[in-house]
Amino acid sequence: MNRTKGDEEEYWNSSKFKAFTFDDEDDELSQLKESKRAVNSLRDFVDDDDDDDLERVSWTGEPVGSRTRPGSFQSLSDALSDTPAKSYAPELGRPKGEYRDYSNDWSPSDTVRRLRKGKVLIFLKRTLSKEILFRELEVRQIALRHLIHFLKEIGDQKMLLDLFRFLDRTEELALSHYREHLNIQDPDKRKEFLKTCIGLPFSAEDSAHIQDHYTLLERQIIIEANDRHLESAGQTEIFRKHPRKASILNMPLVTTLFYSCFYHYTEAEGTFSSPVNLKKTFKIPDKQYVLTALAARAKLRAWNDVDALFTTKNWLGYTKKRAPIGFHRVVEILHKNNAPVQILQEYVNLVEDVDTKLNLATKFKCHDVVIDSCRDLKDRQQLLAYRSKVDKGSAEEEKIDALLSSSQIRWKN
């Protein structure tokens, strides 16, 4: 910490920094008289003369006692102590004079520094039992939280960050700083701000997320500028047919990927707007990629592209269809986009679980699949029942009849 003493003084003595103290609500604390008095004696460390200026406020935020306009508050320890009344600890039995060096020499910031280093705490530790000391710190925790919430509410970002820095609460410091980006509307300014967040003391995973956020916005700005240009030029078919409804800025990654699969599907990996580039840069898992690409291509009714998504060639050159997301999902998405029955049928056929396959086939009226499934399950009854659902005299009806009369099949019912 490279703060000058002047900064600290200013910080502690500024009128903005209001104290929250508590009325002595805590039963257990009030029972332990030593602790109360011992904590009160902490106030000896502070200049007594400025007492009147100390605004004391109950934990509800209501000023306690007089309503004088607040002056500066004296020290963190005072602010956080839980002491409505002042009294001395007779048990401690030492005259105030012995702490002269404490009270006069210490500026408020000194008090706090020493508090942190444990000098005051050591004093307390020697005179108080462990339970009491622990409770004191606990009480301070509550006061601290109030302070933090208050600073957040009034939007005093600088003070808040200073406080976190002071308390060595590095992760909260980082998060509070990051939170500010929500108040920056201009994309370029926001991007610059995000850059400043990258080196902050986040956890390892969060650091990666912050980096990704920056990279994403950076890309989005480029894509947005480019596409707006293309759209206004009016030469690109995809933009003519499907004009953009919104800007891609500040959209989540998956939405950006969808957009990219929609408008820039065929682009090579080299461009920022290509889906493959996005996948690589942000390490998007296959599942997510396929799901999103499918949704985009299905919306455009680009069935060949859909086909290609699932087709893999094995080493013998034979093609096979595979999906990391389960074909029942594929079917649902195709159906949602009003895919023609032949296409639907093809994918329903690929569903592995026979019951699911049958359900979906029935639901989407993929007759051939239903018929074949019934045959595979040797379920005569169901086939018979389905006969009434197909058109009279259709090829499907004929197929059903052929099967029903076949002697090759050993029906189970």
């Binding site: 903005k16 609500e25 934990w59 209501e62 109030h146 009034i154 939007g155 929500l182 998956v254 997510q288």
Partner: protein, 581 residues
């Protein structure tokens, strides 16, 4: 169908008094201003008014102060001088004054307080309308509203007699109780000698049981809240519900006869019930066919109005049902419920996790995805680190990187956490079971400090048999809210937490039970059957419904509810979300 009014049910206190009291206070405050011209809602627009005085009735929030300041300063710039009054409800906070001073207008406004903190939403439901309580206390650790709660309790005890029996569970409950006691002591004598109207009061912290609040609601009232958002006891039904081109604001309480009968019903029963009612209504209308003039006259003057009213209400609720059903089928509701049940019971956790992962991938709904993750986390004592990292990454990718902040909040509130080493369920369960048998005090303290923030849901639910396949399925499908167990008799009968010690220890929060015999003696047996349940942090309609049912089932008890706000899982998740969706 509905809970028929039992002749032996204890009579509820008259809460309309609270409304009159508040109204009188406000009138008094406003009258001081001589005339009130118009009432404006505080929004982000400048208030156009030619009045000489502006009076603001606001919640004590900083953003409201900034709004007022911008108005006053705009006037100053325009050279306008006016009088300004700010009425804070339910109370003024010092921080507000500070901001007014900062903005340079402290001297220009006069401040007052309107201590209106209890809004009767129904005959048995009081709300403090403090939705911010949940976030302020359970996330930020800010105790500012506890005083408000204590004041409200004090008001209640002043109006409706002292409460002979007080119980509570949760740190906030304990603080509120102690503060309230202090208030009572300071104003001793006000309630001395009065006959108590309510025999028991029970304070509960929201975080003692998050699971119930996060489960899908299955009773009609809960679903209406989930789908349409009930605000202050009324709901806005849009054109798709009213079957016209207008929206309608409907008050939902016991006075709506149709609503009253279906509000606590499981949704699967509601549609059938409404259809039956529609048929009955038709039959009533048809009666007029066989009537003579005299009968017809009678019919028109006496019955028709009532029938028309019923008709109107019926069609509204049927419309609402249709909306709800449409939304459910769209969301693949069956699958969702199945996953929830699996989480509650502790089966098929991998499958449930996959379901949640897919839910996120498909960008179904940011709030729902969060809700499911929280349910998983609470029931499993935190997500395993691999899942936490992976689900978090996927959430950020699907719904936005800024939700990093949301995750941080959820972690702090204990709603969505990562298991540390030694936190796996088996480790915890063995630790916990060991504790229960091991009476050495020191060991318990140490062990509990390490279990500090764990929910121990599975252990508790096993001990209390909360997850039931069949049996009482009120309120929450297949799951008994934790409250029911406490309020179901044991604590109330024994006037203490005896017998539930283990459970209380597992919950690892404060509890208390206090009986004032002098007051109890004065209480009638009637009033001893009335229990006021105070939810600190909010409660859902499902919980209210479950408790209403419990009261009547467990024999002659009646519950009254006081909540800091009515809530649902969506509101809880939104409160934790840093980014406004």
């Amino acid at each position: 169908m509905a809970f028929p009014h039992r002749p032996d049910a204890p009579e509820l206190p008259d809460f309309s008094m609270l409304k009159r009291l508040a109204r009188d206070q406000l009138i008094y405050l406003l009258e001081q201003q001589h005339e009130v011209d118009k009432l404006y809602k505080v929004e982000n627009k400048p208030a156009l008014s030619s009045s000489e005085q502006l009076c603001f009735l606001v919640r004590p929030r900083i953003k409201n102060m900034r709004y007022i300041a911008s108005l006053v300063n705009a006037d100053k710039v325009a050279g306008r001088t006016r009088k300004y009054k700010v009425i804070f409800s339910p109370q003024k906070f010092y921080a507000c004054e500070m901001v007014l001073e900062e903005e340079g207008i402290y001297g220009d406004v006069s401040c007052d307080e309107w201590a209106f903190s209890l809004l009767p939403l129904d005959v048995d439901l009081l709300s403090m309308e403090l939705p911010e309580f949940f976030r302020d206390y359970f996330l930020e650790g800010d105790q500012r509203w506890i005083n408000t709660v204590a004041q409200a309790l004090h008001l209640l005890s002043t109006l409706y007699g002292p409460f002979p029996n007080c119980y509570g569970i949760g740190r906030c409950a304990k603080m509120a109780y102690e503060l309230w006691r202090k208030l009572e002591e300071e104003e001793d004598g006000e309630t001395k000698g009065r006959r108590p109207e309510i025999g028991h009061i029970f304070l509960l912290d929201r975080d003692v049981d998050f699971v119930t609040a996060l489960c899908s609601q299955v009773v009609y009232e809960g679903l209406v809240d989930d789908t349409f958002r009930i605000k202050c006891g009324s709901v806005d039904f849009g054109p798709e519900v009213t079957s016209s081109d207008k929206s309608l604001k409907v008050l939902l309480n016991a006075e709506d006869k149709v609503f009253h009968e279906i509000r606590n019903e499981h949704f699967s029963n509601v549609f059938g019930f409404l259809s039956q009612k529609a048929r009955n209504l038709q039959a009533q209308y048809d009666r007029r066919r066989g009537m003579d003039i005299k009968q017809m006259k009678n019919f028109v003057s006496q019955e028709l109005k009532g029938l028309k009213q019923e008709h109107r209400l019926l069609s509204l609720h049927i419309g609402a049902c249709e909306s709800i059903m449409k939304k459910k089928t769209k969301q693949d509701f069956q699958e969702l419920i199945k996953t929830e049940h699996a989480l509650l019971e502790g089966f098929n956790i991998r499958e449930s996790t996959s379901y949640i992962e897919e839910h996120i991938d498909r960008q179904v709904s940011p709030i729902e995805s969060l809700r499911l993750m929280c349910l998983l986390s609470i029931t499993e004592n935190g997500l395993i680190p691999k899942d936490y990292r992976s689900l978090k990454t996927q959430y950020l990718q699907s719904y936005g990187p800024e939700h990093l902040l949301t995750f941080s909040n959820l972690r702090r509130a204990g709603l969505l956490t990562e298991q540390g080493p030694g936190d796996t369920l088996t480790a915890v369960e063995s630790k916990v079971s060991k504790l229960v048998t091991d009476k050495a005090a020191g060991k318990i303290t140490d062990a509990f400090s390490s279990l500090a923030k764990r929910s121990n849901f599975r252990a508790i639910s096993k001990k209390l048999n909360l997850v039931c396949g069949t049996g009482m399925v009120r309120g929450v499908g297949g799951f008994i809210p934790l409250w029911s167990t406490f309020l179901g008799g044991n604590v109330l009968e024994r006037r203490s937490w005896q017998g539930l010690d283990e459970v209380v220890r597992l919950l690892n929060c404060g509890d208390f039970a206090f009986t004032d015999m002098t007051k109890e003696d004065k209480a009638s047996s009637e009033s001893l059957r009335l229990i006021l349940v105070v939810f600190l942090g909010g409660c859902t309609f499902s919980e209210i419904s479950a408790l209403r049912f419990l009261g009547r089932e467990k024999g002659k008890r009646e519950f009254i509810f006081l909540t800091t706000a009515v809530t649902n899982s969506a509101r809880l998740m939104e409160a934790m979300s840093e980014v406004k969706a």
